[in-house]
């Protein structure tokens, strides 16, 4: 590890202290109120002294809920449960996200996933925030997520909450188009030994978990997982086989009913094949060599969180994590260390308000090994980010009309101070019906590559000559003004329906500008304006007690405006207009399950990727209470089909998704 003190001038301490001071001032007032607030309610009087008849005549208020029901959020939220994950037969987190409306998922290879919410789909999608148990999984090099390294034992995931649209005041700097929150089970819920094995022609996976407890307050689990995924298809021959090994633990300790301490850690290491074009000489035409390579990925994290409650009216969470990321490939080698401290506090204010505020400080340093293909300047640097948020949820009419307003303030090393306000309402005209709407502003802060870099690309489908791109020190934040409206029907246990419409206006979106024709050289500039409009639908129908249907459909249209010589014609073209998913979950007698999943994805226009329809089938059988067997067929309708366009940056050969069949056995003791 190399520390970069030469790039950390002393004068920065001044502004930092100043910034800290400013934030503390802003939040001091709130904190003062919070401390002064004494939860009243009926906690001092004893309701059990009333007779049942008296109790039945007491008027109740249901204003305060410690944890708001998801069905009552004023946002486009969708939850994938453990049951969804299990019965879909998916073997990775990215595949599970295909079930979520409004999320675009395409696979570029066995170690490349393009995942976005509400458009801008590409390998280096940068407007999505992903959290795993509260830890931000953010790669500051390109402001996105390296999905190929995000994994855990799928049986230990409790749920995945997905919010499309700006994450509101609560979430981080790149929660522009959505937030994906992956929550693993409390160690209390994973006691005992579990061994699970997946075997098929495309992949082999082994997962082992051992959970236990010490007394009744302390629960823990240890886990380890290994997978080996086989090479996919490419007409020219593919090289994308991938292996990864990970091992970790999670401990949940509840020393008192008001306190919960969670500690977790994990290490992983793996390698994946790719075919890349790497520049070898500093001058045009850069002497590209094409070849197979095995990129190496490794890293780990340590996280601890303390949650404390004061009754049900007030609670707080203090969290710290350290994350290390290492990656070596021919075009670049990178190491990133991240330290993050996060504090949140929620309390009720008078009878009808709930205030949530928080502060976060993040420090990270990177160390890069520049090549002719990809260089970032300086090659080692440290950054810090200070942010805070404040949100007030006001119940104007109990159980009927709730208004939420808030803002996130942050100070980053690239663009300085940023503010992201949002206003939301939730109206429940009748039991089970909710209508919500939101207006929000969000920003996407520049990444290291956009700030100061030199990227050299081999000729590709969109640019037939070798091209060089330079970063832009004046690169600004991309801005979004989002308008959303939604309706949710939740009256019946047997039928739920959810729909959302949105209109997003983006400004200062990253485009390119030609600065020289020979040699062809461009730079990055905030020269595009993008408007997106779309709608998302989700429904859940319990046709019979033994038969459930889950459907999702989404539509999006992106219109891009900018100078002729920019990346006008390629931006947003890798986002399908229409996407649909239909799942049928059938529970048969004798502990047998039969599940099917049909997916339809529209074509991509630049470069051309045809639309596709795919079918997955799963047959599950539980012959013994602790033994689960299943047989799964994935992508059954084609031998192979392409899903993803090659990225313009760090171009590698895309591969196609093949049909696969696997068997799975899970044993719990």
């Amino acid at each position: 590890m190399r520390f970069s003190k030469e790039y950390q001038p002393l004068y920065q301490i001044g502004p930092l202290a100043l910034r800290l001071g400013l934030f503390i001032l802003v939040f001091l007032g709130i904190a003062a109120v919070a401390v002064g607030e004494v939860p009243d309610n009926f906690s001092h009087s004893d309701l059990t002294e009333l007779t049942l008849e008296e109790l039945m005549s007491v008027e109740v208020t249901s204003v305060s809920k410690k944890k708001q029901k998801l069905s009552e959020s004023a946002a486009a939220i969708f939850v994938l449960t453990q049951e969804d994950i299990r019965r879909s037969g998916v073997t990775s987190i990215p595949e599970a996200l295909r079930m979520v409306p409004g999320i675009q998922v395409s696979r570029g290879s066995k170690n490349q996933w393009n995942i976005s919410a509400r458009g801008f789909n590409e390998r280096f999608t940068n407007k999505l925030l992903v959290l795993i148990d509260g830890r931000t999984v953010y790669n500051p090099l390109f402001a996105g997520v390296t999905w190929e390294t995000q994994d855990t034992i799928l049986e230990d995931i409790e749920r995945i909450e997905v919010i499309r649209g700006p994450g509101g005041a609560l979430w981080g700097v790149n929660a522009v188009n959505g937030v994906i929150n992956i929550i693993t089970k409390d160690a209390q819920d994973t006691e005992g030994l579990m061994i699970s094995g997946v075997g098929g022609e495309e992949e082999g996976i082994v997962s082992i978990r051992q959970g236990g407890s010490h007394g009744s307050d302390l629960h823990y689990r240890l886990f380890t997982k290994y997978f080996n995924r086989d090479t996919s298809f490419n007409a020219m021959g593919a090289h994308d086989d991938t292996r990864m090994f990970r091992s970790g633990f999670r401990t949940d300790w509840e020393p008192a009913t008001q306190d919960h301490v969670m500690v977790q850690g994990e290490l992983y290491t793996g390698d994946g094949g790719q075919q890349s074009n790497v520049a070898t000489t500093p001058t045009f035409p850069y002497g590209f060599t094409t070849g197979n390579e095995d990129l190496e990925m490794s890293g780990g994290h340590f996280l601890t969180r303390w949650e404390h409650r004061w009754g049900s009216e007030s609670d707080m969470a203090l969290q710290f994590f350290y994350d290390r990321y290492e990656r070596t490939e021919n075009t670049i080698k990178a190491t990133i260390d991240t330290f993050d401290v996060d504090f949140q506090h929620r309390f009720e204010f008078f009878r009808n308000q709930e205030i949530l505020w928080g502060l976060e400080y993040r420090y990270w340093m990177d160390d890069l090994n520049n090549t002719q293909g990809t260089s970032v300047f300086p090659d080692s640097k440290s950054f810090d980010l200070l942010s805070g948020f404040l949100q007030d949820q006001i119940t104007l009419i109990p159980d009927t009309f709730i208004l939420t307003i808030g803002t996130k303030l942050s100070d980053n090393d690239f663009t300085g101070f940023e503010h992201q306000p949002n206003g939301r309402f939730l109206w429940k005209p009748a039991e089970g019906h909710s209508v919500w709407g939101a207006i929000s502003r969000a920003v996407r802060v520049p990444s290291r590559l956009e700030d100061n870099s030199q990227l050299t690309f081999a000729p590709n489908a969109t640019t037939p000559v070798p091209t060089r791109f330079l970063g832009n020190k004046k690169f600004k934040s991309e801005e979004l003004l989002a308008f959303e409206i939604g309706y949710r029907l939740n009256t019946f246990e047997r039928f739920t329906f959810d729909m959302t419409g949105f209109y997003n206006q983006y400004d200062h979106v990253r485009g390119t500008r030609v600065i020289s024709l020979l040699p062809p050289t461009g730079t990055l500039e905030n020269n595009l304006k993008v408007d997106t409009i779309g709608a998302e639908f989700a429904t859940n129908v319990q046709l019979q007690e033994w038969w459930q249907i889950r459907g999702a459909y989404s539509y999006i249209n992106m219109s891009v405006d900018g100078p002729i010589n920019s990346s006008l014609n390629t931006t947003g073209r890798a986002t399908p207009h229409h996407q649909g998913s239909l799942r049928s979950l059938i529970t048969l007698p004798y502990q047998v399950e039969f599940d099917s999943w049909l997916r339809v994805v529209d074509k991509l226009s630049a470069p051309n990727i045809a639309s596709y329809v795919e079918l997955d089938l799963r047959l599950g059988w539980k012959p013994l209470p602790n033994l689960d067997l299943s047989l799964v067929g994935q992508n059954l309708l084609d031998n192979h089909h392409p899903e993803a366009a090659p990225s313009l940056f760090l171009t590698t050969q895309p591969t196609e998704v093949q049909r696969s069949v696997y068997g799975k056995i899970t044993w719990q003791y």
Partner: protein, 183 residues
């Protein structure tokens, strides 16, 4: 243009805050839904009789289990700690392991989170457990009691058939106050 939009947005926010904070202080205050529900559990414990052996597994405690993504266990804890029904003190468990659900005297199934009807159904035919839920569908699927709010007042319904099939003895007073449901 944009700066103006945000100035307007911020002033709107400020005026809404100013406006709503003023009247809120004088609002009438009643107990919260969860506090009242917790008190109902005290009465349920009084009016329901469990077979004596069920207390052997719990060391004499009257055990209430809470399933789902909820912190209702805390409301129960606050309301019922140190209270006694006969010789039995209360014990509250949140999301116990599946195998232990049969040892709960009362099982409260929250509407949220992981407790879906399918998973609950596996335990619902436990003959010694009083199952309490939040929806009509819950008792339609075999649950025994469900809470509902009517004109801001807490009510409950009892599935008489499910009670009949169980080993529990429910006092006629409780049945009289409940809305009854028979499939």
């Amino acid at each position: 243009m944009e700066a103006v939009t945000f100035r307007i947005l911020y002033s709107l926010i400020l005026s809404v805050v100013a406006f709503t904070w003023l009247p809120s202080a004088s609002q009438a205050e009643g107990p919260r839904e969860d506090q009242v529900k917790a008190a109902f559990f005290y009465h349920f414990a009084n009016f329901v009789e469990w077979p004596e052996p069920t207390f052997h597994a719990t060391d004499g405690y009257l055990r209430i289990c809470v399933l789902g993504d909820t912190r209702f266990d805390q409301s129960l804890e606050t309301t019922l700690s140190h209270k006694k029904i006969g010789d039995h003190l209360f014990e509250i468990r949140r999301n116990p392991p599946n195998a232990e659900i049969q040892h709960c005297h009362m099982l409260y199934v929250s509407n949220s989170g992981k407790a879906t009807i399918q998973t609950i159904r596996r335990y619902i035919n436990q003959k010694d457990v009083l199952t309490v839920g939040e929806t009509l569908d819950f008792i339609k699927h075999g649950g025994m009691v469900h809470f509902f709010v009517e004109k801001q007042k807490m009510r409950f319904a009892i599935n008489t058939q499910a009670i009949k099939n169980s080993n529990l003895k429910v006092s006629s007073k409780l049945l009289r106050l409940a809305k009854t449901y028979s499939p």
